[in-house]
Amino acid sequence: MRYRCRHTTRYDYGEDVPASHHIVHLTAREHPLQRCRRNLLTVEPGGNVVRADQLDYFGNPITYLAVQEPHRHLVITTESEMEVFPSPPIDAESTPAWERLRDVVRTGMPVPNDGGEILQYAFDSTLVPTGPELAAYAAPSFTPELPVALGAIDLMRRIHRDFTFDPHATTVATPLRQVLANRRGVCQDFAHVIVGALRSLGLPARYVSGYLRTLPPPGRPRLIGADMSHAWGSVWCGSDQWLDLCPTNGRVTDEDFITVAWGRDYDDVSPVRGVIHGGAGHGLSVEVDVEPLDD
């Protein structure tokens, strides 16, 4: 499946901002099931912009942008053409029992020569502290000796059922504990819940940020989280296998999902993070458009 993705972030400041610095995760990373055919990042005003492209610690492309002229608004836009390949159906039954993976993590060497690639997703991160409450929530899905993928899919379905999508219930600053207690939030919150619940059992889990196709294929319902940045979770299923699960829509991800970046939580991969010099309050608007391209 090929898509044209367009992601626009617009800041409006109350007064002239002499300079601003941003780190953006707006260029989609490539992986075996996803190719980036074309990518164009533009900044407005573009008169005096310093730009540096790098990879972050998790292997995601990031861009440093410094706007070094007085500006009252800032628009960062990426336009990309992505190709997403159908994932081979996962044989959930044949994934290792979850306790095996947990124990491998405990001994500290999941796969030979792993510099922590996998293991780093098993620990607490800034926005996702593990804890007994999360472990207790996850427990019913992970009966003894259950293959890890089956447990994780069940956990994802339970989150989908138990939690209400409510954009007014949380902000970026709402602690995970509160999301778990109130059972309301948005896709970022649900991604944190599934990631935190899996880690609380000792299983490595990643936070994935990306997009959904805006309009569903004919005859299928429109997904929650289209038109905006989306997020879901991913659980390690042994060796180099990861399974992406979207608790917001209760689905194992497929060609409708475009990955931009992954990390331990939102903080690692937030699309735009910035610091401005001076300036009063600011308004922020984000638009995401994902359009399938006919071959």
């Binding site: 610095h21 610690y57 410094a66 070094q68 405990r106 293991l119 593990t130």
Partner: protein, 858 residues
């Protein structure tokens, strides 16, 4: 003329004293208690250790009076040099005097060589581990370190992984806390790898001890500290990406940090500029210092800000101490941060147990200095050991950021123990178990005698240009004040000692004890760094310092005027003059209007209360106290730019303006106000007589002049000067009397005019006469001179704010003519115009020089 190793007569004398006083050899004889642990001064048998004999000999008999005198001298020196430290979370904690004990810790040469080589090895090792973990991570890939040591550690900064640092040098300045075990061996307690503090205090301790115990210092052949700091300076210079005239700065979190004194001291000692995060900015992936004359590139940042707080863009977002974009500048290689960002990782306890193996692997050597045994619960076998031996261990946080109080396993109840075990099982990587240790003791002069107290020694190392390390021969010894207390921390009220490493040979006398620049002297050389290095923030602070000082002075004059007339009803014209004074005070918001209307008659009690409030009440925005608080706070923010004397005077103004306990009658209030005035006058005197005419001084003086000009105009309006012609003669005389008094020009007037007070000559003296330093014209001329001497802000295109300010000043000057101020009609217009235009000058100045907007999250 002194030959090496030959005792001078003095020295021989000292030795003989020692033999005579051989009772020093017996610990019991001096009432020095001994425990089952190692004592630095005496052996288990109570004999003085050999390396203490010279020292004790030179010290003479331990006469409490002599010791008290020495202590007093030391206290005086410390006070004079302004040595303080701040205690967090304690309202009284700002500016505690630095506690220094009179007996140094002595370390013999051979023992020091062992410590030295062990520490150099350890520095090389930690640096090599950092270089690997922030680079290829082969230690983890090869299984020599479990991945969890970095994955679980919040101190591992992923944002700076892969950043190339010059010469693979991460640790440029490193400190180690050492403790001595009962067997006499030195052990490593902990490592300080991101921004170690204490070296400046060690330097200051040395400066004081060398003065207080000059004989002992000379005879003991104490190793000098200066070469170490010279080496460090060379290292910093060698780090600079630009070879020509590199700019090196010391980044401090600011005056509220625990060890701010030391930041100021070190910056001066190393000859580098002290800056706060807000003084720096990143443009084109390069760090610049915001100065009066524009942006100046920065090459090396010696930081005293922790890893997390260095860059709100890529590290902790809510931090305001750092510089947005710093990580990018470091990545681009345009600036070097020392220690490298991320090096705080090596402070984690989780690494300690791996070091012996890592040392063999990375350096091919055995680890020379042992580390207090610890077991990291994140590793399976170590965790089982901890769980099996809880009783004998102290449980500590594995990572400094997950801080909690150490838990002594033996002290736990069954329930507490169960809870701890559960916590360890759930998050094993968060904790380490550590062997309980007993600290050695050293003699502390307390209660008129020497008493043994537990100690921890902090030793400092710096990288050298050849990629190795130099150790400072000495260090900061910290002692607890209670015998059995094993926690040694300045935050909890311990004391400090100088540390004397005794050279095997006599020290060349050409090397001074410390470079002679003590803090006080350094302060005197204020604004030594080029005017271009005056950060805009500091200029702003100095400007406001001048304004608040002048504002406080204005308030004191008014209050003094009112209180004088209240206490002395017999003074001629007292009640007539009280009326305009009270009206003035109401006019500038010091007392309520209704009290002023009554003119002080029949309002005794209410008036006294209101006046007292306008002196002491910190909640009252226009009280003297409020202005002094602003003055003090502003001075604090630019403390590194003020001479010690100036700072001391400002501190006394602060103390004098606090409401005393009990009732204050008008007479004692007057005495108090006189004291405040004397201090404020001393402050103004120091500004004039002890400050170099640098840009910094100009801002301070400009602030003073601007405030005085505004005050003069405001006083003129307050007494309704333009209406005096319509007033009764007695009322007019009173108003003029008050004007002259507030304008400190009474004497001058009397010298010139013998007749009764008349409007025109009074106004001429207070407004037009540019030879009167209290006259408005004099302020305007001074302001004009300052503006012309300051560098122009480099923002072309816009209307230059400095020009605009000059235009206002010129207009004001030309409006002040004898003809205009002599006429009631024109006078009113002139005064009103000045009242609206003069405050604008201050705004324009701010616009021209201080618009150093602070960064915040987008």
């Amino acid at each position: 003329m002194s030959s090496l190793d030959t005792p001078t007569p003095d020295h021989a004398d000292a030795s003989s004293k020692l033999i005579q006083g051989s009772l020093f050899g017996e610990a019991d004889a001096i009432g020095y208690g001994l425990g089952p642990i190692y004592d630095e001064m005496v052996t288990g048998q109570g004999r003085l250790r050999p390396h203490w004999q010279t020292f004790m000999g030179t010290l003479g008999p331990l006469d409490p009076e002599i010791m008290a005198e020495r202590w007093e001298e030391a206290r005086r020196l410390l006070h004079q040099n302004g040595v303080t430290y701040n205690i967090y979370g304690d309202p009284q904690g700002m500016e505690r005097p630095w506690p220094l004990d009179m007996i140094p810790l002595l370390i013999p040469s051979h023992e020091w060589r062992a410590i030295e080589s062990g520490l150099v090895q350890r520095a090389m090792l930690l640096n090599a581990v950092l270089a690997d973990l922030y680079g290829p991570q082969t230690l983890i890939r090869d299984g020599r370190l479990p991945p969890a040591v970095i994955c679980a550690d919040p101190g591992f900064r992923r944002e700076v992984h892969g950043v190339r640092v010059p010469g693979d040098m991460f640790l440029h300045f490193y400190a180690v806390d050492l403790a001595r075990a009962p067997d006499g061996r030195w052990w490593v307690l902990s490592d300080r790898t991101q921004a170690p503090s204490g070296s400046g205090y060690a330097l200051e301790n040395r400066a004081v001890m060398a003065k207080v115990l000059p004989d002992s210092f000379r005879h003991c052949h104490v190793e000098r500290l200066a070469p170490f700091f010279n080496a460090f300076k060379d290292t910093l210079r060698a780090l600079a990406p630009r070879r020509e005239n590199p700019r090196i700065v010391l980044l401090t979190p600011g005056p509220y940090n625990e060890t701010y004194f030391e930041h100021v001291y070190l910056a001066r000692h190393l000859g580098i500029t002290l800056v706060e995060g807000a003084d720096l900015t990143v443009r084109d992936r390069q760090v610049f210092l915001k100065t009066l004359s524009g942006l100046e590139p920065v090459d090396v940042i010696l930081r005293r800000v922790d890893d997390d707080f260095c860059d709100p863009l890529q590290l902790r977002a809510e931090s305001t101490l750092g510089v947005p974009g710093l990580v990018q500048a470091v990545r681009a290689g345009t600036v070097v941060v020392a220690n490298a960002l991320g090096s705080g990782l090596m402070e984690s306890m989780s690494f300690k147990s791996f070091l012996p193996t890592l040392c063999r692997h990375l350096l091919g050597e055995e680890l020379r200095l042992p580390c207090v045994a610890s077991w990291w619960c994140g590793a399976d076998s170590e965790r089982s050991y901890v769980l099996d031996h809880l009783d004998g261990l102290v449980i500590k946080p594995a990572f400094p950021s997950r801080s909690f109080e150490p838990i002594f396993g033996a002290d736990l109840s069954t329930a507490e123990r169960r809870e701890l075990v559960e916590k360890i099982r759930r998050r094993p990587w968060d904790r380490v178990g550590q062997e309980r240790l007993s600290l050695s003791t050293a003699p502390v002069w307390q209660g008129g005698r020497l008493q043994p107290r537990p100690l921890v020694l902090r030793v400092f190392l710096c990288a050298t240009a050849d990629g190795r390390y130099a150790v400072m021969p000495g260090g900061l010894t910290r002692v607890s004040t209670e015998p059995g207390k094993l926690v040694v921390s300045m935050q909890r009220g311990g004391g400090s000692k100088d540390t004397w490493v005794l050279a095997a040979r006599r020290i060349e006398s050409s090397t001074p004890a410390v470079r002679t620049t003590s803090f006080g002297e350094l302060r005197a050389a204020e604004f030594r760094s080029a005017a271009t290095d005056l950060p805009s923030r500091v200029a702003d602070g100095l400007f406001w310092l001048g304004r608040y000082a002048e504002r406080s002075e204005g308030a004191v004059r008014l209050l003094r005027g009112a209180y004088t007339r209240l206490t002395d009803g017999n003074m001629p014209g007292a009640s007539d003059e009280l009326r305009p004074l009270l009206r003035l005070m109401a006019w500038i918001g010091m007392i309520p209007w209704d009290l002023a209307k009554m003119g002080g008659i029949g309002s005794g009690r209410a008036l006294r209360t209101a006046l007292q409030t306008s002196v002491f009440d910190a909640e009252h925005p226009n009280s003297l106290r409020s202005n002094v608080i602003r003055l003090h706070r502003t001075a604090y923010s630019v403390r590194d730019r003020l001479s010690l004397d100036l700072w001391r005077v400002i501190s006394s103004v602060e103390r004098q303006s606090v409401q005393p306990r009990g009732r204050v009658d008008a007479a004692s209030m007057l005495l108090r106000l006189d004291d405040v005035m004397t201090s404020l006058a001393a402050m103004a005197g120091l500004e004039q007589e002890s400050m170099t005419r640098s840009h910094g001084w100009r801002f301070l003086d400009f602030g003073r002049r601007a405030e005085r000009a505004i005050h003069i105009v405001s006083v003129m309006r307050g007494v309704r000067i333009a209406e005096t012609e319509r007033m009764a003669e007695i009322e007019q005389t009173a108003a003029l009397e008050v004007l002259l008094e507030l304008g400190e020009s009474f004497m001058t007037y009397r010298e010139r005019h013998l007749a009764a007070l008349q409007l025109a000559p009074v106004l001429e003296l207070l407004l037009v006469d540019d030879s009167n330093p209290r006259a408005l014209a004099f302020q305007l001329q001074a302001m004009e001179r300052h503006l012309r001497a300051l560098p122009r802000s480099a923002s072309p295109g816009h209307d230059d704010p400095t020009d605009a300010a000059l235009r206002i000043i010129h207009a004001a000057m030309s409006s002040l003519r004898v003809e205009t101020v002599g006429h009631a009609a024109t006078l009113a217009t002139v005064i009103d115009q000045l009242a609206s235009s003069l405050p604008e000058v201050s705004n324009l100045l701010a616009h021209a020089y201080f618009s150093h907007a602070f960064a915040r999250p987008a």
